[in-house]
Amino acid sequence: MSLHYNIVLNPDFSYSFITDNGDIYDVYFIEYPLIDADDNKHIIYYFSFVRNGNFECKNFQKKYDPKIKLTFVEIAVRLFDKMEHACVTYDCFNEDGFARHRSIVFKNWCKELPAQVECHHTSVVHRGIEWYSTLILSGENPLKRLILDAYTKNLRDIANNW
């Protein structure tokens, strides 16, 4: 018996999985360029998911399901198996007041990732509201420092200029 849910690729390039409770998760990645201080162009994958067709988070009324966490871990493992030097960002925007809660859950998920995969957590204040961001990349990425610096700088610029 698999410890994670079955991940299916959809025709629109999103991925889906269905939990034992019947919740449908649509997982998607959007790519963005990130330019570092040496003008290297990196691709960062913005990772997000939608549960049952909406983003609403109703104060943790759902029972904890460890298979969801393990499905996230499986997604990350597959991604870094395929692209050793991938960069992924997960960002908690505060559209519903639960950004901090989501970031805490996500940090716990990150603890389950393989040792060579590093999660760097940052929070900035944007228009008076906290924005929680995580950058996930391999610790063996030779450009790790440049990527991390560019990631941090871009986030701080957002916080300072808005």
Binding site: Y15, D26, F55, N154, I158
Partner: protein
């Protein structure tokens, strides 16, 4: 005689900030999902399948 001020009109190109774009895209995504549509129907974003 009034002193004429000179200003440097050479503007530095504004560097693309992926987080600025991400935030704008997220607003569009939330609006689209609230209307019952799929994320992939949002104009101007491209979903990729890196797995």
């Amino acid at each position: 005689m009034a002193t004429q001020k000179t200003t440097d009109t050479t503007e530095k190109p504004v560097a693309f900030n992926p987080f600025e774009q991400m935030m704008e895209d997220k607003k569009k995504i939330v609006k689209t999902v609230k209307s019952g549509k799929k994320v992939s129907s949002v104009k101007g974003i491209k979903i990729v399948a890196p797995l």
